[in-house]
Symmetry: C2
Subunit: 337 residues, 2 copies
């Protein structure tokens, strides 16, 4: 196990965009707290938690906490706690999602359920949720408790909506956006909003910080859903179009389904027949989504949400951090290039 962790540490060259430089000290402290300071009595769980946090992504959500904090007066000790609990909740939900989706790979690394098993994944996710609650208690702020409680409720709603609408080609845009908000944007919004609350900003500015995170989060989810079609499996760290294969209808497919073209009907039939369980029918559906410009239109939609996010940035008086927060949106969109 130690070898796996060492290898991960070595492999994860942190190729972060520039705005991360402004918060590198805070992110380093966060990483230390997540990998070294959680109170874990079991050796097995300690190894697993290290594994997930070292394997784990770019820490965009904590970065939003820190940038929003710096943009509204500075990073306090409470912002460090906020960033930590935000990442704990995100990671816990991924660990449980991977059970629900029977996922074997995430970001190119084996999932906890794949390396260990589903039971261990249940415990690991529950542990991380539990630690997030402890951190939430440390904040001693009833407003933020409510915000994050709603995030937890939203995360689960999003997962249920996704699970119960598989292979449903009649899913509406409203439902897709609601699910994306619940699964992703709600936590982005909470991170930005709560950072502003901890810095005692005005109600109007707190609302703007919330909207910035919300729209950014929706854009992030649309980009993720688009990458699922356009990236190769090495870039994705998992199989191409794994969402579609599971029957999860996302923005590119929705755009393709609504095209005034006979091929839209073909996609519908392919999805509803669950690709007749044939790889070639699945590949045909992917190609039709791309041919009907589903990905191009989804990318445009993501761009519009980033513009809405940036239009909320008037809560940031500091020019430097205004620029940094704008560049978060640029970064989210740049993943499509």
């Amino acid at each position: 196990m130690q070898q796996v962790i060492d290898k991960l540490n070595k492999d994860k060259k942190e190729q972060w965009p520039e705005f991360f430089d402004a918060i590198s000290k805070e992110l380093a402290e966060l990483k230390y707290n997540l990998t070294e300071k959680l109170p874990i009595k079991s050796k097995l769980l300690s190894e697993i938690v290290k594994y997930v946090f070292i394997a784990g992504g770019k820490r965009l959500r904590p970065a939003l906490c820190f940038l929003s904090a710096k943009a509204t007066g500075g990073v306090t000790d409470k912002h460090l706690v906020l960033a930590e609990l935000t990442e704990l909740i995100h990671t816990a939900s991924l660990v449980h999602d991977d059970i629900i989706d029977s996922a074997h790979l995430r970001r190119g690394e084996e999932t906890v359920n794949s390396l260990w098993n589903d039971k261990i994944s249940v415990i690991t996710g529950d542990f991380l949720f539990g630690q997030a609650s402890v951190k939430l208690g440390e904040l001693e702020n009833t407003e933020i408790v409510k915000i994050y409680a709603n995030v937890l409720s939203d995360l689960c709603d999003g997962e249920i909506e996704q699970y119960s609408s598989k292979f449903d080609t009649k899913i509406s845009w409203e439902k897709y956006l609601h699910k994306s908000t619940a699964k992703t944007a709600s936590l982005f919004a909470a991170a930005c909003k709560s950072a502003a609350i901890l810095n005692n900003q005005s109600l109007e500015d707190i609302k703007l910080a919330n909207n910035f995170g919300l729209y950014l989060g929706i854009a992030f989810q649309i980009v993720d859903d688009t990458l699922d079609f356009t990236s190769n499996s090495t870039e994705l760290g998992k199989a191409v179009a794994s969402d579609l294969k599971q029957g999860i209808i996302t923005a590119p497919t929705l755009f393709a389904l609504s095209a005034s073209d006979d091929r839209a009907k073909q996609i519908q039939v392919l999805i509803e027949s669950r690709f007749n369980e044939r790889e070639e029918d699945f590949k045909k559906a992917i190609n039709l989504v791309i041919e009907l410009e589903g990905c191009k239109k989804a990318a445009m939609m993501a761009k519009e949400y980033i513009e809405k996010a940036n239009a909320s940035l008037s809560f940031v008086k500091d020019r430097t951090f205004h620029t940094y927060l704008t560049s978060v949106g640029d970064y989210v969109l740049s993943r499509l290039n």
Copy 2:
């Protein structure tokens, strides 16, 4: 599904001890809130949640909230929320535990993972934990947020300790009691303590309310562990000695293992060999635990904890509710008869 729920409603004749009469109105409201008022958008999840709450037990933890509230000034709207979140957390942890333990029966009814599957159980548990967080936010009390955050952390610690010490016959009493506190007594203590906090009791009385719940909870767990050996499978609603079969060493086995008798060594060898995967070796181990008076000694130990619980009841000035709370301990012990 509706038929299953109707049948459960009919079968569950509520044979509650007398102290429940004093809080029947509150318990009815709680049941209504749990089965009819949770905000559930998915039809499937709505059915599952109804199933678990109608199948679900005597509501001893909410009863402790209500009795502690009445004993310290009365039941407020916040106590109703407290009772609800307490039962939500308890139920969520059972749903996830049943995945971890691959349990097919609980209280004579099929588990969620058995009737549906593990994925659905993960979502259901997460939903219930999420709703508990929302209720916790509604209380607007940072002290209680901290208490329940620690309960969540404890529940998970207890489950991990149990999972990682299976078939370990060297497990100490300290570890067993710690696990029992984490898995069970911590939530009992939180319920009593928080009810007293909401009624603005003195620090000393809050501590006593905590200790009452704590010792009662430990006794409850020891009784549960003893019933696992002494009840038949109909009474248990699951297989006899299912803990031992899974390698979980509880009070009766610990007492038997520490007997100055050759048979103690025999039990040790049987457990460490995992009963050689033979039913007769497993049955031999059960009989040896009973022969060496493991259950009798465990029952004595439970009684001692009930005495410690009752010794903490000086926070209750009202004679009627002092009597009611004492009778909770009697009820816990009466399950052994």
